[in-house]
Amino acid sequence: MNESSPILNISIFGVFVLITLFVVIRASRNTKTAADYLAAGRAFTGPQNGIAIAGDYLSAASFLGIAGAIALNGYDGFLYSIGFLVAWLVALLLVAELLRNTGKYTMGDVLSFRMRQRPVRAAAATSTMAVSFFYLLAQMAGAGGLVALLLGITGTGGQALVIAVVGALMIAYVLIGGMKGTTWVQIIKAVLLIAGAAIMTVWVLGKYGFNLSGLLGAAVDNAPKAGEKLLGPGLQYGKTGTSKLDFLSLALALVLGTAGLPHILMRFYTVPTAKEARRSVVWAIWLIGIFYLFTLVLGYGAGALVGPDAINKAPGKANSAAPLLALELGGPILLGLIAAVAFATILAVVAGLTITASASFAHDIYANIIKKGAEEDKDSEVKVARITAIVIGLVSIGGGIIANGQNIAFLVALAFAVAASANLPTILYSLFWKRFNTSGALWSIYGGLAVTITLIVLSPAVSGTPTSMFKTVDFHLFPLSNPGIVSIPVAFLLGYLGTILSKEKADPLKQAEMEVRSLTGAGAEKAIAH
C-alpha cells in the first residue's frame, strides 16, 4: 500500500539532529568544571532526570526488540518487559539514594569508598568498561539493521558508513555537551519515543474499538503458524527443559542487572540530593512501565496488522515490526517520524554509554589510580574524559561494523548478565554488609566477570547452533545462552568467601563514615549553582 521514503526518513532525522545539536551547544555554555562535565553540575531536577533515565533505559532493544518479539513470539516477548520493569524496584529500594549520597561521578566511587582504593577502582572501571562495551556493541549493531530497513541501504559498505556517521554524531554530543548535553538529548528522545508509542498505541486500539481482546484475536487470526499459542507463554522458550532453564536464567539477569548498569547508576549523580534521586527513579518507573504497556499493544498490533510473514521477510526481521506497523498505520510520514525516533534512541543511548565509560576511565583510572587523586576535579580529568570518549567512540564504530547483523537482544542480555554478576553483588555488599572488604570486592567483581564471560564464550549463543555467532565451529560446553542462573549466585558466593577467607579487617572508621553518609546524605556532593 505505502512505500517507505528514504529521503523523507533522512530529512526528519536530520531535523532531530539539528535541534538536539543546538540544545547540546546551548547546554554546554555553562560546562566548566569536572562536576559540570561528568555530572551536569548535579543540577537536574528529579523529574528531568527521571525522564532522562527512561531515555537511557528504553534502548533500541526495548523499543524495536520487544515489539518485534511480541509480534513474532507473542507472550514470551512480554516477559522481557516485565523483567526490565520489576528490576527498577531493586534500584529504587536498595541502590539509588545510598549511591547518590556516597559517590561522586562513578560506580567506582561507591565500591572503593571503604576499601583499598587502587585495586577496587581498577576492578570497578574494568567491569564498567565491559558492561558498557557489550551494551554499545548491541546498539551499534542494531543501527545497521535499522538503516537497511529505513533508508533502503542494503550493502555492507553503505551500512558501515551509516554506523560511522551515527558514531561520529554521538562523539560530537559527548565532546560538546558532556553530561548536561547528553542528559538533554535523553530527555528530548524519551519524550519523542514515549509520545510516538502512545500515538501508535491509541491508533492500534482504536482500530479494534479499544477492545484488547479483539486485538489479541486479530493477532491470532493473522498468525496461522503460531495460532492460539501466541497468547500464552512458551512459544519461544517452552520447547525443551534446557530452553526453559535458559528462560529462567534470562529472567534473573534482567531483574538483577538494571541496578548494576553503570550508565544508569551514573545518572543518579546528576541530581542535587538523594531525595531527588528517589523522585527520578519514581518518574522513571512510571514512564518505563507505561511505555512497556504500549509495546504490548504495538507488538500484538504489528502481528495483527502487518503479520508475522511480512515482518520475517523485511530486512531486520523482528526489529522491523514497530516501523512496519507505523507505515501501515500512518504511511510514510509516521514511518519517518518513528524511524527518526528509533535512530535518536540509538544515538542517545550510545552517547550515555560513552560518557559513562569515559568518566570511569578519567575518574577511576586516570585521576585516582595513575595520579593518585592529585588530579581529581582538575581540568585534566575532563580532558582525559574527552579523549577517552573519542577513543571509545572509534572502538564502538569499529565494533558496530563488525557486529552488524548480530542478535541485539543477545548482546543486551549479555550486558545485563555481566552487570548482575560483576557489579550488583559488590554494590549490595558494600552498602549493607559491615564486614565486606577489599578482597571480597575483588573476588566478586573479577570472579563474576570471569565466570560470566567464560560461560558466554562456551554457550550455544557463540558456537555450535544455526543461530550462533560462529555457526561452523562447535566448542559449546555450557547448555544455556544466558549465564545468569550460574554466574549471579557464584559472584555473590565469591564476594562472601573472599571476605571471610581473607585476614584483612574491614576499615571500621570508613565503614562508619560510609554508612552514616549513605543514610543521612551528610557530606554528599552538592549541586553547582551557575
Partner: protein
Amino acid sequence: MSTVEHTPSESADAQKWVDVQASDDFAQLKHRLRKFVFPVSGLFLAWYLLYVLLADYAHGFMATKVVGNINVGLIFGLLQFVSTFVITTLYVRHANKNLDPLAEKLRGEIEGDGK
C-alpha cells in the same frame, strides 16, 4: 574529600562518623530503612520469581482464558506492573514520612559542627 586516600585531617574527623553511627537516632533511621526495604525486596523478588516459574512451567494454567482472549498469563503479567507501581508509591510515602525527617535532622547535626 572522602574519595581519596586517608589524610591526617580526615582521621581526626573520623571519630565523628563513629559517634553518629553509634547514636540512637541513627540506629532508628537504619532500622526504619531496613525494616521496609529488606522484606519488600524479598517479597517482590519472590512474586516475580513465582510469575516467571508459572510462565516457564505452567503453560496450560497461564493460557486459560478468563474474558474473551484475555488469559491468566496476561492478567498475571499486568499484575506485575500493578505491584511495581504500588510498591513504588508505598516506598515513597514511607521515605517521606519516616526516613527523610530523621535523615535531615542527623545531617543537620553532622554538618552544623563547622565542617
